[in-house]
Symmetry: C2
């Protein structure tokens, strides 16, 4: 297979480092590799497949000769560098939310809407992490009958906020273990032994930016423009893997067994089984892997005809970010 | 006020000890005090208002001369001793789930259905902790217009499982802080840095016993026999205070401002405000107090006419158990 020159923008963060791991694991045909970050991280050395690379400060000239840029940086940086990346002729697979809702930018979960990849004009967006994990669990049901409404409550790991989130929880717990006070850093208040029902910023309708992604991105990925999603996003003291409790309503009734069979048959997701006798997943069961696990599928008590409830967990740094981005790149550069 | 002879059944557990604290705080007119527990705990000494009491092993003769028995024991013990308590002429305010759904047993949250207290025949049940906290937040809205349907996802603290739950989380975190492995004790798997979507045992409909309490007890307390509740109960690594994300539908539209005003006007609950600039509560904000705090009230995106979403937190050992039980006793023995 033809070698592909790859730049990782934001190579030193949680997602950027996981992208490198996934590129290696999946034997992505990396030709040249360029590790880009802010001036603060420039000069750091990172290993990839047995070779050391020096992190460079990203600028507009960094993308010359690249075929693929994996973006794991902020919206501001994605917006700043996108024109240069597109001019350089590279495909920009971007994990920020900057371009996700743009009509000329595909928003892709390869197991769900791989065909959208082809419609890009240089930029392909990687969806929000909770959205990817939820949709991986519900898309097999949506293929049996379109989903009309969905209520989702999330239990989101601190690493969704990057390395700073992990450091915050670890730091707080260490301080408390040592009999000291926990000093909040990354989150609006202490996250150790707590739950924080606000992720992203508050909009006029009372929902947060994070919560609205589930509806807006869900509509685009599932090709269901009328889908209505009511979401509550909550940060919990978990290191990795987001969990989501979902109740959904379909146009035509879908049975519990049919839903479970569809989940098992779909690539990238599976019903949880045999987890020390448990048939439901927890974040710890699902961390450091790509599969989204599902459990607790049951008939809704409110609409016993068309409602189903379920619980799903997946690693939001892997399938929720790095793995999904590399899968998009594979689909985009194939053929 | 007339002195009341009080026995606490299960006096050495999390809820039993909190009941003693609440009796003292509320200056309950305690006459004789009898602290009852299993043989294992008999002989332990517990202080109450500056005097030491010796814990006695509970048996059928323990209730003679008592006016009130506060039950903080298992269903099995509640069932075993209820006949002796009723025969002794005491009122049994029981925190177990053994009698909650019996027609001749009132199930009471005093701020919501205090009038039901009078209908007892010796036993009054204290509702499930998550149910109490959720209903404290939604009852003010139900008084504006009856609630028809509710979807609730819980974020339940480990102390909901008693002292063993607290010990489990503390033990696991200490072990992990010391670089050792966490060994699950109380819960089906590790709870430190994890979420466990199963509380209680699984029923044939796929819901758990804990989840069904929200509908069954909610119907009885709110006097809404047709209420439908779809609940997902999840244990999270929080010490105290349960949190619940609720979406509810009312018969007639209720506006966000009207709902917030009703919550603020109702006794025992309040909109969260001024929490270090936050207008939503977290479990840590609401522990060791009786008020149930509410935030994030917003118009549902699915049914913009009749749907509302909100987030509420309350200390499940206080208002969810001990305080509510003492309030029931006050209402039952008044006048």
């Amino acid at each position: 297979m033809k070698k592909i020159n790859v730049a990782v923008l934001g190579a030193t963060g949680c997602v950027g480092r996981e992208m490198l791991k996934v590129l290696a694991e999946r034997e992505f045909p990396v030709g040249q590799l360029r590790l880009l970050a802010s001036a603060r991280s420039a000069g750091r050395r990172i290993e990839f497949r047995g070779r050391e690379y020096t992190v460079e400060e990203a600028d507009e000239a960094s993308f010359a000769g690249m075929d693929l840029v994996l973006g794991a940086a902020s919206n501001a940086l994605a917006q700043r560098f996108a024109p240069a990346i597109v001019r350089a002729g590279a495909v920009f697979v971007d994990n920020s939310s900057a371009f996700r809702m743009r009509d000329d930018v595909p928003l892709v979960v390869p197991e769900i809407n791989a065909e959208d990849v082809k419609k890009h004009s240089g930029i392909i967006s990687n969806p929000n992490c909770s959205t990817i994990i939820t949709l991986m669990a519900v898309a097999p049901i949506a293929r049996l009958s379109p989903i009309t409404k969905m209520i989702a409550c999330t239990y989101q790991a601190v690493s969704g906020a990057g390395q700073g989130g992990l450091d915050a929880l670890e730091g707080e717990v260490s301080a408390l273990c040592a009999g000291k006070k926990a000093v909040p850093s990354q989150f609006p208040c202490q996250i150790a032994y707590n739950c924080i029902p606000q992720i992203g910023s508050r909009l006029e309708n009372g929902f947060t930016t994070e919560e609205m992604k589930m509806q807006n991105e869900g509509r685009k990925i599932l090709h269901l423009p009328e889908l209505r999603v009511n979401c509550t996003c909550v940060r919990v003291p978990v290191m990795r893997s987001h969990s989501i409790a979902v109740t959904l309503y379909t146009e035509e009734p879908v049975g519990v067994e049919a839903a479970e069979a569809a989940i098992d048959a779909a690539p990238g997701c599976a019903m949880a089984r045999g987890l020390d006798g448990r048939d439901y997943p927890t974040p710890l069961d699902t961390s450091d892997q790509d599969t989204v696990f599902v459990g607790r599928v049951r008939r809704d008590l409110i609409d016993e005809e068309r409602g189903l409830s379920l619980w799903c967990c997946g690693d939001q740094i892997r399938k929720g970010a790095a793995t999904n981005a590399v899968q998009i790149a594979e689909a985009a550069l194939k053929g």
